[in-house]
Symmetry: C2
Subunit: 412 residues, 2 copies
Amino acid sequence: MDSKKQREGMTRRDFLKMTAVAGVGLAIGGAGVSAIERAVRPASTSAAESNPSEDTIPMYGEHQAGIITPQQTYMYLASFRITTEDKAAVIRLFRDWTRFSDLSTSGGTMKTGDNPLLPPSDTGETLDLPASKLTVTFGFGPTFFSVEGKNRFGISAKSPRYLKDIPRMPKDNLDHLQSGGDVIVQVCAEDQQVAFHAVRNFIRLSTGYATLKWIQEGFISGSGGKTPRNLFGFKDGTANNLHQTPAGYNDVVWAGEDEPAWMKGGTYLAYRKVRMLLEVWDRSSLTDQEDTFGRHKESGAAYGTKDEFDTVDPAQMPVSAHVRLAKQSKQLIHRRGYSYTDGVDLRTGNVNAGLLFISYQKNPDEQLIPMLKLMQSQDKLNEYTSHVASALFACPGGLREGQYIGQSILES
Amino acid sequence: MDSKKQREGMTRRDFLKMTAVAGVGLAIGGAGVSAIERAVRPASTSAAESNPSEDTIPMYGEHQAGIITPQQTYMYLASFRITTEDKAAVIRLFRDWTRFSDLSTSGGTMKTGDNPLLPPSDTGETLDLPASKLTVTFGFGPTFFSVEGKNRFGISAKSPRYLKDIPRMPKDNLDHLQSGGDVIVQVCAEDQQVAFHAVRNFIRLSTGYATLKWIQEGFISGSGGKTPRNLFGFKDGTANNLHQTPAGYNDVVWAGEDEPAWMKGGTYLAYRKVRMLLEVWDRSSLTDQEDTFGRHKESGAAYGTKDEFDTVDPAQMPVSAHVRLAKQSKQLIHRRGYSYTDGVDLRTGNVNAGLLFISYQKNPDEQLIPMLKLMQSQDKLNEYTSHVASALFACPGGLREGQYIGQSILES
C-alpha cells in the first residue's frame, strides 16, 4: 500500500472520529446479546461523499458490492445458521449487520471504550488500518426460507425461483459440515486483517441469533489488471471478459423479471470448494497440463490462438479439455474464485489446497448446473481435483441508505 | 501495489528471461525425484545489483533475511522431516532449495516448458507477480542433528548449545503433529500467493528427500510503520523498539561466541501456536482486557504512561498483567508474530484463531524459557489462550553467493 493511500485512510478515520455525534458507542446486554446502537460514522452521507477515498468501495447502490467489483486479494466466506425462529430478532440482527457493514466499508470502526466496564464496541484490530476496499455481500440459502416444509419466517412464498442445493454431481466428495447454510456473508478486502475483522464482528453481533456453520478464507493475486492464476498455474477467469459490460451483466448476472421483486438487481452465488491434488499435478507434463485446460499455461491463449483473449475454437482442443466442455454448455457465468491452503492432509502428507470456485449467475439451472454435470463427468481436470464442499445462495439487490440487508424479503 | 512497482517487477522478469543462459530449465527424473539444474536468474550478480527493486529483499549477507527484516504481511511456516539418511542426498536437497530461494527472492521463476513432455520446472502461479519482498529463512530442529542418540549425518557434535525442544509448560495443550520438525522454512512476503508459491516449490523439490510435517499460514498488518495489532486488538511487538540497533541485535538476537562456528550470525527461532478464545475475550470488559495486558488498548501505552513507547513501569500494572510478567523476566526477545484463522472449531462452533508467536533470540534458555514458564503459570492472558503447538530451531548465519543452506553444518 503506498503512503498516499495510507494518509488518506488515516485522514478519513480521523474525520470519522471527529464527526461522530455524542453518545455513540455500543450497548451490550448482560446476557451476551449485543447490538450496535450507534456507531462512529460520518454524520451525513454528503459529508462522506465529499471525502472519497481510493480505499473504499461504496456499499449502497442498485447491486450489492463484491459481485462485479474487481476482485480484491483476500476473501472470507462465513456461513451462518439462524438459531431464532423470531422474525423480529432476525430483523434486529440484520439491522446490526447492516450498520456494521456501512461503518466498516467506509473505513470507520465502532467506538471503543465509552464505558470501560463493558466490552469494547469494536474488537480493535483495524484501528490503524484503512478500509482496504472492504466489501460485504449477503446471500440467503434455501433453508432461510423453509426447513422441511416449515415456513420459518413467513417468507417461504418469496423463495427465489432457482434457489435449491446444487444437486449431487458425479465424483462429488462433499463434506456437509462445510456446505450450505442459511445466510452467507462474503467479505473481501485488499488486507486479510481487515477482512477477518469484519467477519469476526459479524459473528460477534450474531450472538443469540445465529451460529457460525463454516468459514473459509481465500486469496488470489493478479497484477496490474492481469487475470490471476490459480494454484495449477493457469489463468482463472479469462472468460469473464465476454460479458463485462452493463448489457453483459444483465444477460449473465442480474436476476430476471421472473423473480420475486426483492431479487431485482440480485443474483445467485454458487460455491464449490475444489481440492486440487497439487502433487499429482506438479508431476504431470506441460503437455498434459495444457491438454487438461485446452489453453497454454504461460500465455493463457486457447489452443490454436495466440493471445489470452482471442476467440476460443473448441475444435482445436482435446474433447475432455476443461475450456472445451465449458464452451459446450454455451453458457456464461461470472467467476470470482479464490485459492485456499489449509494445512497438511495427515492421511497423505500433502498440502490441503485448491480453488474456492465462486460464480455469480442469474439462472443457475441453465447456466451452472448443466456445466457442472458435464464437467464433473467428462472433464480431464477431474484427475486432479475433488469437489469437497458446495452451496447456493440468493443475493438480493443492493440497498439504499437506511434500508437493512434482507428488508425487502422480511418486510415487503 | 502501485503501477510503478508493477512495471519494475515485470521489467526485472523480462530481464531475467533475456539474460538466461542457454539450456536452462529443470530436469525431473522418472522416479519423481527432482532437481533444479539451472534456473532463470541474472547472469551475474553485478547485473542483478544494477537493477535493484523495492520489491526484493537481498538473500545474501551476514544474517539470513526474514529475522530482523521489517515484517511482511503474510507468512508460511513449513516444517519438514528429512526422510533420507544419505548425507549426499541432503546436500542435493539443500542445494536445490538454495537455488530456488536465490531465484524466487530476486523475482525470477524457473523456466517453464523447455520440454513439453516433462513437468514444467515452475508451478507457474507467480509468472505475473513481482517478488513482493519475499524472504526465506531456514532453521534446524534438534532431530536434524540426532534422533534417539543416533548421529544422523555425522553432525551431532555440531548441535548448537541451546537447541532442544521447549520443555513442557504449565497449561500446555500441544498437538505434536503441529509441533517440531527437522527443518523449518519460514517464508514471508507482501503477497500470500507469492509466499505459497515458494512453500509449494520447496515441497516439490523435497520429493524423495523429505516430507512435509506441518504447515501454518499467518497474516498481520500494521500501517505506515505502526506496530501491528493482534486479534485481541492490542499492539503486538512494541518492546522490539528496545533493541532495534546493531548493538541491540547483538545483545538480543545474534548467537554468541560460545556456539559452533556455523551459528555465527545465526539465532534461534522459537514458535508457539497460541489459540485465542476470541469469543470469551470479546465478551470481557475493556478494563479486564487492559488489565490483562497492562496496556491501554487504543494507544498501546503502558499503565501509568501516555504513549506506546514510553518507558514501562511494571508497578503500575496488576501483578498478573502480561507486560508486567514479561518485564519481570528482565529479558528481551525479538518478536515477529503473525495472526492465524483456521476455520470453525466443530466442538464449540467458535472460530479457530489466534497468534503464531515467533521470537528470535540468542539464548532461549535465558531469554525465553523462564519468561514462558512465568507467563504460562501466572499470566492473566491464560484465561483467554491455549498453547497448541511448539518448536525450536537453530538458524545458521547468512550465506555468501555460491554457498548453500546448511553447508557450514554439513561440510565443515
